[in-house]
Amino acid sequence: MLGKTAGSLFWMARYLERSENNARLIDAGFRIALTRSSTARSEWRSVLVTAGQDSYFRQAHGEDYMSQRVVDFMLRDPANPSSILSVVKRARDNARTARTYLTREVWEAVNTSWMTLGALLKRQVREDDLPDVLAAIRQNNALVRGAFSGTMLRNDGYNFARLGTFLERADNTARILDVKYYLLLPSVAHIGSSIDNVQWETILRSVSAHRAYHWLYGTEISALKIAEFLILYKQMPRSLAFCCDQMNDNLGLLQRAYGEETDAIRMGSSMCRERLSRPIGSIFDGGLHEFITDFLRANAALAQQIERDYRFVE
């Protein structure tokens, strides 16, 4: 397949994943803003930092982290290159470029999502409509995902799209940890002490996993457990370990299809082995912040290596 097409599938998947992650971040931020108006502004700031949009926001609106303004910025502000609206548009542009590699069902799902969200986000969203809009973003993404998993050939194109999904997702989970790691730190000193209830719930909500966490760990809430859950727990579909496994599976399939072991394949497997094959305690010992920073760097480097090895661009 064309390198450009592989790149378009990769980026289409990344942008779709990003739109959903950002919708989830908005949702979590919105909850905090509702329940804790005193910390709302600093919470919105950390949402923007997590989403990588804080510098754009400050350029456009200064330090005024008002709920309504941040939400509108993240959903549809033209000054924000990562707004949901612009990310969905870019996903669709990439789908159009890779159109010949997509089934009709996938293309129509992506295109419909772009049309639906375009209509919903034409005007500023009222606060009481926000839950519906966020639900629509999730639903449209679910439709794309369903069409993708149900109709796409399991070939190299599929693998590139999956790589995009899990790279983006790992990046998102790591960023959440990066922004919130300081909340987890003080409590580590005395393991078992509980951290701020609303804060930990926000973290879990932003990865849609507060129910799953309870399922797994019962009522015990500790920084160590949350970190373990998000970093190492392989059954959690947004954990770093899960994403890494998926990336390596897809890289492995590419190796089998192309009969070539690329640098990206080597990087992917060492990312898993060196960083994620140790107990959570040892990660904390080495410094959670250092760990996350290093992971984000490795993840970005892997993305670049994939782009090079599979000739997305000349």
Binding site: L2, K4, A6, D93, R96, E108, M115, R311, E314
Partner: protein, 470 residues
Amino acid sequence: MTGQASPGQGGEVRSPYRDYHDWFDREDAARIQRKAQQAEAFFRTTGITFNVYGEDEADERLIPFDVVPRIISAGEWRRLSRGIEQRVRALNAFLHDIYHRQEILRAGRVPVDLISRNEAFLPMMMGMDPPGGVYTHISGIDIVRTGPNEFYVLEDNARTPSGVSYMLENRETMLQMFPELFAKISVREVGDYPLNLLKSLSACAPPKCNGTPTVAVLTPGIHNSAYFEHSFIADQMGAELVEGHDLRVVDGRVAMRTTQGYTPIDVIYRRVDDDFLDPLNFRPDSMLGVPGIWDVYRAGGITIANAPGTGIADDKALYSYMPDIIEFYTGEKALLPNVPTWRCSDPDHLKEVLDRLPELVVKEVHGSGGYGMLVGPAASKKEVAAFRKKLEANPGNYIAQPTLSLSTVPIFTKAGLAPRHVDLRPFVLMSPQGITITPGGLTRVAMTKGSLVVNSSQGGGTKDTWVLED
């Protein structure tokens, strides 16, 4: 029901429409109205849109689709297709001659001027033999009907005729909306066009091709107005859709950048104009083409479809010589007549055109898309006067034709069926193995009452075209 079957012409239902009308009369107009709205939603989700240049807001538009098929009898189609085949053969022979010995110019049947001053003429093609001797791999011949078995050719599109995706999707839409109609009425298939295109292009593979030819479609990219069509055709053929930056010359072949390195292409169906094909040999500022593709082409390393330089045949002044051209190369009279045409470069013609301007249709020689033309009877006095100035300033740039009394076909409106003017663009494939014409083609319809302009860029619509089985 409100849908009173208002007939195509003269108060009487033409015979090919009889079965359709029987069905229509028993249908509930509200149901058809609903279907028409569904069709629009279907076109939107499928992304069958075209981009309008210079319009930022809503830069993707739908071409209006009419749910009433345009129906052609088997007998009419037989005559039509014979005439079309003859015309395309002559066009191809003409192009070969122009780029070789130029017998027709020596014989004085076509003025030398028309070639030497034709912007689409490519001196670099002189003496060049395109693989299989084919210039016009894909052509579209625009035809209008004025009465029973009375057809005229309006123009020839040999450069890069567009619209075939609409022909295919219109049929697909009709099949989804009114499956029962197709059970009742035997309509000839159009869906094999993509495979015929692939076969036809593969049959024109260049000498350096070994094995099964690799075919690719070259598009200027997603911002081009016809991008939907480019991706549609590539998808349907199972061919790669490439842009200039996916390609480069490697070891004397044009190769595409795949995830595993560069792979040679044998046949390129380009939807990029000649000028943009090769920045080394044509326009140096072009980013759309492939540096060096021309040299590969000359050396037999790739087939370019349609062949460079083919656009001379689209010239509307040249069009007026088509009856002579057909006779010169086939030894037969043209089966399909031209619309009588005045060449404004000729002082006598110009005088007559200026005298009768309000009743004529005047077109730019190199124009397309319905831009820059005058439809005399529909124009205001002011518009006619303004056009007169343009015409007098540069008469060689124009041709004029009488306003034909075009026959109409019914379209579906809120008030029932209503007559509108249409044209027809059949799509013709040519390879060394022969000529294939898909039964029917693209019917474009002037959606506004009384209008004669069918171009989509001017608000025209399309409808499905049915050629009936014998």
